[in-house]
């Protein structure tokens, strides 16, 4: 099939993360060096195929020096869904299906195949556009590491290192002031960042969405540490962690005295803990810092391999597939399969077993967690 291809497009969609530029660079270089194809860069995700003037050629010179840089030179957005495109009008927001226009736009641009670098949202769109005739290959991107089909994607390792370095910094303050310090990390549905960074950063408590936390168990852990002389505690909490009882209980606890709605789980937990512990509590929300920075070696290499192999997949005609890491090798899996389900922290992971051995509190008693696992 490679000989029918003369020009490919590349776009990045969804939240930015370290390694996007490394994928772009490898794809451009490989397309030129190995196949002599032209590459068009599409700006701001699918927006670049909806609005005019957002496409530019990418040459080897354009991708020089971008390997160590975070973000994406193409721009990205979480919002431009061609099947559900929102336009502000005088009468409010109107929604259009512009997917046919996108496919036509790609044809007019002479794009023989499109490499979509994005999360489950962007990949799902890519998959649907393929039903309409657009030839697509995917590169998975999820800083939360919650995508099926690939062991891990680029950006995650950098985010875990950033979070761990924050924990290293907070440790000294916690210890010097005998405080409880809560660090809120990313992870809306899956607790990978919190779990891995928490263990790597020496946290005493780690709360993840997969295990609803019992505030009494958490407070007990902190109080026990205080009694034994370790008069500080480090609590890591994923943004999507919830107390036993779930969303409803969480929202109730977030509403303090009817007066002020707290920012997120970190602040809410702080208020809860103040009722159960003697210690001073402080909260830090790491937020967008986890998405920034120069990618780690692991992420630069993985992103580079993904970019290069994605181009080979196009040449092999593996449309509708995305690159993935399995057993230390880059393979291809069907996009449809990959976006079918999320990947959560399994409760029988040896990482949880390790956490128990280190006496890290995971939000509930070991017995309850083992029952969840048996039940789950």
């Amino acid at each position: 099939m490679a000989d029918t291809i003369r020009r490919i497009g590349v776009l990045t969609g969804g939240g930015d993360c370290p390694g996007l530029n490394a994928v772009i660079r490898a794809a451009v270089k490989t397309a030129i060096n190995e196949y002599d194809w032209e590459v068009l860069g599409i700006e701001d995700g699918f927006e670049g195929l909806i609005q005019p003037g957002k496409v530019r050629p990418l040459t080897a010179a354009d991708v020089r020096g971008i390997l160590p840089r975070g973000g994406t030179i193409l721009g990205t957005t979480n919002r431009a869904n061609p099947f559900h495109y929102e336009v502000e009008t005088d009468a409010g927001v109107a929604v259009f299906d512009v997917s046919d226009d996108v496919v036509r736009h790609a044809q007019v641009l002479g794009i023989d195949a499109l490499i979509v670098i994005g999360g489950d949202g962007s990949l799902r769109i890519a998959h649907e556009l393929m039903q309409k005739g657009l030839k697509v290959v995917g590169v998975p991107k999820t800083i939360d590491n919650d995508l099926q089909g690939t062991v891990v994607t680029f950006g995650f390792d950098t985010a875990v290192n950033t979070a761990m370095e924050a924990l290293d910094k907070l440790h000294t303050t916690a210890e010097s002031h005998h405080r409880v310090i809560i660090l809120e990390l990313m992870g809306r549905d899956a607790g990978w960042i919190a779990l891995k960074a928490g263990i790597a950063g020496g946290a005493d408590v780690i709360l993840i969405p997969e295990i609803p936390y019992d505030i009494e168990v958490v407070a007990d852990k902190i109080n026990t540490r205080n009694r034994r002389g370790a008069k500080f505690s480090i609590v890591v909490v994923a943004e999507g962690a919830k107390p036993v009882g779930g969303e409803a209980v969480y929202q109730a606890e977030r509403q303090v005295g009817g007066e002020r709605r707290l920012g997120g789980i970190g602040e809410t937990l702080a208020v809860q803990l103040k009722g159960h512990c003697e210690a001073e509590v402080r909260v830090t929300v790491l937020g967008h810092l986890q998405r920034g920075g120069s990618p780690s070696a692991f992420d630069r290499l993985l992103a580079t391999r993904f970019g290069a192999v994605a181009v080979h997949l196009v040449a092999q005609g593996k449309l509708g597939h995305m690159v993935a890491l399995q057993d230390e090798r880059i393979i291809s899996v069907s996009i449809a399969d990959a976006v079918a389900a999320q990947k959560f922290v399994p409760l029988d992971s040896d990482i949880l077993l390790t956490a128990f051995g280190l006496d890290i509190c995971l939000g509930n008693s070991r017995q309850v967690i083992e029952e969840m696992q048996a039940g789950g």
Copy 2:
């Protein structure tokens, strides 16, 4: 006088900051190597001279390996003021003056002189205790850099580097998503961290307490950038920055719709900007991360020099003095003078002139700032 000294005490007071351990290490080593004195470590600031069981000998072995570590091995607190010591009783908080007990406690421990490493609060207490007979030498500590008498103190350089690295990380996200990103930094009264980190981190807008900001001027800067194609902006704001009109206007703006009181200046500014700009706005509050981490080379060296010279000041009988940096040399200045006034960013600094040349918005028009400066 040195021969009348046989034992000195060391304590750290106020908020922790990178370099405290380097001061302790240098003081202990110098006292032992040069004068053959004993050193007692006092735990948790002045609390260690109020409560029993908080004093321990410090030998060379005790300070081995602590040079690169943030925080303080002695612990610290912002709260134990011997002249105003708060005790929780059944009837509420009672306040006592225990300063005489502190002086007596030090005598009983055989402390011939006390090295107090602390901010203006701790140094003021030290100075008052000297009136009661305690022999004191100070080592200034203020991460905000707002202390008179010394060009700079340790911890500040590390904090500025931490803030700058955060800006480097936020840049890629801002650029990739075409966003306005606000970074709230420390600096309640003086804007040193925000100004220096802001310029070093390539910020487009820098708001400091010394210059009340006009939201229209700030929004205009951002809108101009968007029009010219730089569709993102980085705004750095010191926690103590205020709009024109001051505290009252700030509190009014912080109260949004009567419903929810915003967290701080970063969040408040975001809400204000949303009314004046098209762009998406995001806020990151760096918080305690600025106090953590391994000290920079500058801070390790300065802290080490401070610790060593403080011991020599004790030997020379320079009581009531603190070490200070001036013209690249460590000198001694009177504690009383140093705590008499705060050090603000002068409006005629060449740093501000530099910011104008780079077209950085400082929260108000250049003309207004120059009039403020002329008005003094």
Copy 3:
């Protein structure tokens, strides 16, 4: 079996690497928390079971705060082989087999099982001691990543990041001065560090032991870059890389004019290149810096899991086994199998394919490498 165990020993052998302390910490905590065992720390590898006075109890307090620290609190050595123990005497070096004494010493100390953290040398010794009755569980350590049986070990990721950061730094100098900069990295037999760091750091040439290099091919790559306007090149070379012709040719080239024997492959390559390129050439040997530093998040987590699971292996009676990483899980493999062969970079790896796509020179023409692979 766990109930027959009351006391275990832990030792670290071979070259130091980031993560050793994390293993020790996890093993000590898990042994105490999960099994209530005592732990003895053996100092300086097997030397600690040969010489007296080198054993100390390890409690939870002893391992507090060591997670982020490089090196090993137990000390290590590459030299104390109990089967071949060298002693300096007046008559020169005498060699003894003290393996029986080591086994007896462990019995006298009440060590029911020994956790050996070490490379293939230490693990081989451990395996042989097991034949003599010592109960052993292994934790693999090799910064070069050349051990069979485990996908990777701790320390490697940190070393690759350190090397990549060095490449980032050297890039700016190379570019500013239009120079060829050679970076010599670890890797005596296997080129994993050079290959991974080289790609992650944007190297133009990567030379590994698995592919003998042809100096003409390397020089041609550099000269082509110069002609095309990229007037600098970054060359990464593993310490064990050799020219076509192997060791004999290398030693001949290392001897320049009979006068001075060059330091290593980096310097030798520089001299070779000067004969074939116009450009100025500079060499940096990263050396021990690759073994130092705080471990990366990946290494801290992997080392922690290894330490915890090793203790569980002891409890399960899996003697003669070592922990290993496979498919993202910690499993156990036979030490005998693991040390039977080294793990080299396979010539059909998608990483090499990626390098070709990026037009990275791997020391020889693609055709020659593909023939080696087909032949190999």
Copy 4:
């Protein structure tokens, strides 16, 4: 004078160092924003005014994003001296004085003033070109910090931090293996980097060019540490350090057994120490790594201030002057004065006093050093 200026040139000369791009960026932005001048970038130092085709306009867009990047976008060289310009001919190297051509070339390009960013070599050339009519303003650059007239220049702080981080890494290996580790740092004539990084990195021995070292004193320090149980030592040596007896003795010691000339002072010292100590000795030469990397906050800010103020100096007609840092302010000093003498580590510095207090060996006995100071 500003109104007679319409176009300025900028060039970087000498070895690269972190912060050059920050100077260029600030100069370009300030020239455009404040004075509406055009800026021409001259490539590869004075070479760009000798050879054709090495001049390009610099706009605000050209300097976007370069603040955090090491090196210089203009290129640099240590070799193009217009008064002594070397050209390779068939008959060998011929030397020409092309200084008149350089002045004429600048006129033809319409350069009304030239900002020269460089070390003492480049500044001396700039000063001489001014005698011939070229209008020049200087920005001092010396990573070694050995230039009179300014307290410090950009690049030095980054280099000291890089060296300190290397020491942090080497510490763990030295400690784990009970070794002596020697780190060779930059500093041909002045020992600033070695002294400051050595203290900040916790070195046990620091050897600088200003104090000839006595190998017996150094070995004695190491042996004393070993006897007392600290069985490792970290030795920092500036590349220009010499033994007592100076260059002649050094060259004799460098020639080992007539067979192999050692690389530099680090290797030479290692051989010397092996004769005097029991310990294993290892050497690391940091080399070009000290010139690389993203500049520290201090260097980015200082470089930015230098670049901005240099433009103001041009506007004020302060030709023949360079920017300098004194008392925390940017001032201007005569280039002629600045290059007249080098700035060495003064033997009465409180930094040396601090080193004594920490029991750091400075290469000779305290008594000898104090006599040198009294005599010096």
